[in-house]
Amino acid sequence: MIFSFDLLFEAVLFGILLGCFYAAVSIGLSVSFGLLDVPHVAHPALMIFGSYCAYIVAGWGLDPILAGVVLMPVFFVLGVLIYRFYYETFERRGSDAGVRGLAFFFGLAFIIEVGLILGFGVDQRTVQAPYIGSSWAIGDYRIPYRMLVAFGVALVLTAALTVYLSKTFTGRAIKAVAQDEPALRLMGANPVRIKQWAFGIATGVSALAGAMVIIVGPVEPAMDRLYIGRTFCVVVLAGLGSMTGTLAAGLILGISESIVLMMLGASWAPAVAFGLLLVVLGIRPQGLFGR
């Protein structure tokens, strides 16, 4: 084990970029699970599905990020449909919805994963773009442009969602649904329509997140399993539904993973997110910025 402050500084720098990326891939889950209480374990699988869609669209000559943006409305509709289905079959029936809802999303995740394996095989896929592969040298440090791009998109996405949820009418309605659904019903609003809209947004955002995943590195169908740990770690650590908290939690995870990667090596890295998740669940399940 080699230790030096130079290496540590590099690890932290890389961790910050990685952390913003983790925040961006988790922000959809922060809405769907954090605000709407949907046990959405299929979120990472949908995101990887988004990566493959971005791969196809980028194959037509489009920039991967643009491909993600183009896919957002499609995924929005997909999300609305999924929520509608979930609501009709589980939430409305009430009792014992917990176990079955979980089983439903778990099964959905596997169907998506195997669908991707059947469609694309188990090989890794990558996309081409001018900013992928090259890096920016500052002094002795080299920062890959792909991480910078992901960093930028992540910041924009987080900022946009934060503003949307706190400043616009619909955004506030989504927060209201999260806080007190019966009260909203008494005011004459339809909580199901608002939740449907919010779930659509969460799924739409995961298309862009998926595009970022394939920009940051090669994608394979079974990758969603690792991202279960990362996304849920960030959302729980953030405190359910807190957007700024998501950014902070993403940074914590990114920096810790990057430091572990440097000190102990890649074989220990997958345990970081899951370990952190267990610690948070054990000590402070309401998260850092919990409501």
Partner: protein, 311 residues
């Protein structure tokens, strides 16, 4: 009484088949189906009766396999010792998971079990003694007298284990423990207020469930003559162990058995004739279909049909 007679008949038939001249492949496939009977029955004790969804069946199963391998490599321990050790380690992990239920419910509990699964896998990947990420080849010991091959013997062992598992699940279901667990599933607060010792019961369910999963995992390395972390700790064990009770019906002990026999056999046929990926797809699709269309599984469908025909 009929239960014990049919259990005895089943065991005798399994034993008789194993020493007869039936094709080796039957036992090779049957072993896996019986493993699923144990796993889904074990899952149902916690997930079906008490309503705590465990995605991390692979953690218990894999840990059972690895404790068997460590004992075998260090002491050349016989199979029975390996299984007992696997059960003990599984029970210990179950106890730890049981303590988590103090604070975590629903999806939080489920996600925590996934976390345990991946942490266990990472630990084994980094443990050189058991072969790390590449795994370990194992040399099977000599097979005992009446059996023609090691696989046949393992088949009978797993048949015995599945009878033990189902008997335990049945005992729990019909007694006061089962009533307490069902009360926890319906409303934990109400159960606690009415004097149900919720923590004790949850710990009991976790320990039993974990022990059975660990025991089911212990003979696996000998069956494959090989062990590696990725398949031992796969999330696929979790989805199967969850899907089988859901498909069979979670309320009754026969549910997981039906689900495991049904889905396990389909999986074996699909794996042979089509591919391994399709078999996971079948599990996922059937799980979603049953959860949506027949929430009480095959047992529920059967009850509905019986009620309609009696009217």
């Amino acid at each position: 009484m009929t239960y014990w007679i049919s259990a005895l008949v089943f065991l005798t038939a399994a034993f008789a088949a194993a020493i007869s001249g039936i094709n080796e492949y039957v036992f090779y496939a049957g072993y896996i189906v019986l493993t699923f009977v144990v796993l889904s029955t074990a899952w149902n004790i916690l997930g079906g009766y008490a309503g705590y969804v465990n995605f991390g069946t692979g953690a218990f199963f894999g840990l059972g396999s690895y404790s068997a391998v460590v004992l075998f490599k260090a002491l050349e321990a016989p199979l029975i010792v390996q299984i007992i050790a696997g059960a003990a380690i599984g029970a210990a992990l179950g106890f730890a998971v049981g303590i988590m239920t103090l604070r975590l419910r629903g999806i939080f509990f489920a996600i925590a079990t996934v976390a345990i699964l991946f942490i266990m896998e990472t630990l084994m990947v980094n443990w050189r003694y058991v072969g790390g990420a590449t795994g370990l080849q194992l040399l099977r010991p000599e097979v005992m007298a009446p059996f023609g091959s090691y696989t046949r013997m393992l088949f009978v062992v797993m048949a015995l284990l599945s009878v033990i598992a189902v008997s335990i699940a049945r005992y729990i279901q019909v007694g006061w423990i089962g009533r307490g667990l069902r009360a926890i599933r319906d409303s934990e607060e109400a159960a606690e207020c009415s004097g149900v010792p919720t923590l004790k019961l949850k710990l009991f369910a976790c320990v039993i469930s974990g022990a059975l999963m660990g025991a089911a995992g212990a003979p696996m390395p000998m069956y494959l003559s090989f062990i590696e972390p990725a398949s031992s700790f796969s999330l696929n064990w979790g989805v199967s162990a969850l899907a089988m009770p859901m498909i069979g019906g979670t309320g009754h002990w026969i549910g997981p058995v039906i689900g495991a026999l049904l889905l396990g056999s389909i999986q074996q046929i699909v794996t042979v004739t089509i591919s391994n990926e399709i078999n996971v797809l079948v599990v996922g699709v059937l799980l979603v279909l049953f959860v949506v269309l027949a929430p009480d599984g095959v047992v529920g469908l059967f009850r509905k049909w019986a009620r309609r025909s009696s009217r």
